[in-house]
């Protein structure tokens, strides 16, 4: 059973709905998004691909409520993201972010980095520590819990970052070129890890990449150019 068939068989809850989404920077001198229309359903694995500067990161920022669109409508589970949701709560509970540059905090150990998002949601410190340790174990880093980021390899750092993104059991993982700073061996490992999480936890995964071979792992591939979606492919993407 391939991904396209499963999409067709079961009607899915619509998670994101973007209509005419635009984003300008520098008083309109830069138009990063020029009207994006998009629906993403719960449980999908979507890759976003396109040349540098086409607006992939900007789109991810809108989906993650890190920034507001200049115009257009963006809804999450039918609620307007601008008016219907509290951005901080949304970011803390619904979204897990994974960055190209890992973005771990250097003054905190692996297990502490994983706990950082939990400060907004979990009150008991012992519970936080326990869950962070088990998340690190699930990404294969149980032997690195008390290491500072500087003492970890790139692949290990990204695995800590993935564990951190899962801290509050989000609905969506947003990954912006998560393998961009890694060698091919580690890149494969990280990608497999993300796909495993998507499968096992039915988590929606939206992954931005330059790399067509990575993009083809997804069940749906969105191609962007100059701030617009120019292609939206579903189904068997793997050559």
């Amino acid at each position: 059973m391939n991904a396209a068939a499963s999409n067709a068989a079961t009607p899915q809850t619509c998670l994101f709905e973007a209509v005419g989404l635009q984003k300008e920077f520098d008083d309109g001198r830069v138009q990063a998004l020029r009207g994006v229309d998009l629906r993403i359903s719960e449980g999908e694995f979507v890759s976003i691909i396109g040349p540098s500067g086409c607006g992939k990161t900007t789109l991810l920022q809108m989906l993650g409520a890190l920034d507001h669109p200049s115009s257009g409508e963006l809804k999450y589970r039918g609620k307007s993201m601008l008016h219907g949701l509290d951005a901080a709560t949304y970011r803390a509970r619904e979204i897990g972010f994974i960055f190209q540059a890992f973005h771990l905090l250097p003054t905190f150990t692996a297990v502490e980095n994983v706990q950082l998002p939990m400060l907004e949601t979990t009150t008991k410190a012992s519970e936080r520590r326990e869950r962070a340790a088990s998340l690190l174990k699930s990404v294969g880093l149980e032997h690195r819990t008390d290491h500072f980021p500087a003492k970890l390899s790139g692949g290990e750092r990204q695995r800590v970052a993935i564990a951190r993104s899962l801290a509050n059991q989000p609905s969506v993982l947003l990954a912006d070129e998560p393998t961009g700073n890694l060698d091919s061996e580690n890149a494969v490992m990280i990608l497999e890890l993300l796909i495993r999480i998507h499968r096992e936890q039915k988590m929606t995964l939206i992954l931005v990449t330059h790399d067509l071979s990575i993009a083809r792992q997804a069940s749906r591939m969105i191609e962007m150019k100059d701030g617009r979606v120019i292609n939206d492919l579903r189904g068997a993407l793997r050559p």
């Binding site: 990161t57 920034d67 803390a92 949601t121």
Partner: protein, 371 residues
Amino acid sequence: MTFPTIIVRGLMRRPVRTGLTLFGISIGIAAVVALVGVSRGFETSWNVGMRTRHIDIVVSTLGSGITPKPFDASVRDRVAAVPGVTDTCALFVDFTSVEDSPMLIVSAREWGGFSWNHLKIVSGRMPNDATEPAVVLGRTAAETLKKKVGDPIQIDIRELKVVGIVDGGALVENGSVMLSLDLMQEITGNEGRINIIDVRVKPGSSEEEIQRVCEAINRVVPEAKAMSAGEHIASSEAYRFVQAMSWSTSLLAVIMGVLGVMNTMLMTVFERKQEICILLAIGWRRRRIMLMILGESALLGLLGGMVGVLIGVLGVKAIHGLPGIRGLLDPDLSPRLFVTSVTISIGVGVLSGLYPAWRSSRLTPSLALQG
């Protein structure tokens, strides 16, 4: 990991800078402790001096200068006649340098007046009469001047003899040079003039009764002012000057502390811009970011305050040990002063953290995704 851990970690990331900032605040707080402690101590020991001599009211012109202006000795008779006054003693007191010692109280007392009564002889004797060219020294004054019984001592232009060393039971008394009023008037050319009248009222009088006697004295004595012993020191211009100096120096120190901490916290916010954006991106509320920055600066204040109290106490102890100063200082290093100082210091921390915290909360999380 708890929120306080995060705050501590924030300060520990730049130990040298944190240390220097801490040192900066603690010097300010040390100044507060030392100056306020010394001026309060001066007030307390003055009041203790009044009580051991059983002085209820002081009539003088102390409000007008470092040493009170002289007035005619006949004022004493008018004061003595006021109903409620039971005893009086006329004095001529000067705050002046004696030989090598820069500042000593030279206290000339009416021969036979009650202000001689409580002095206990440690060695030697009291002067024989009002005109013998002799002085007695309080214990600390004797130490400061390095004099013993039999030594000569120069007062103004006259050489007198130390005939006794006494214990007056209070710091002010022990730091004084005491002699007969007649002798002092003669030496300084102030015949018939005095500048302080110590007054006693009926034992057990209430503060209100004392106030009423003061008012009665003030009606008949326009040349000087009667004040209850407690009020007296607080209203002295010299004391007020010292107090104003100590508070304004403290204020300056506190302002320097605020600027130092604010600078450090602003630096830390700028330096951690990206980290703050990441925290926002992973779901931290702006309020929590502000609390983190405020927490760090408050903790700086707390630690700086504690170190400052320590430095202040050690500093005062060191100054107190200096020979010329022993007789003049009895610093009031009470726990209350410590608590006040540390509270001020925490306040400094919080105050200086407000602007950096506000700045940190205005960062946008999207910065985290770029670069």
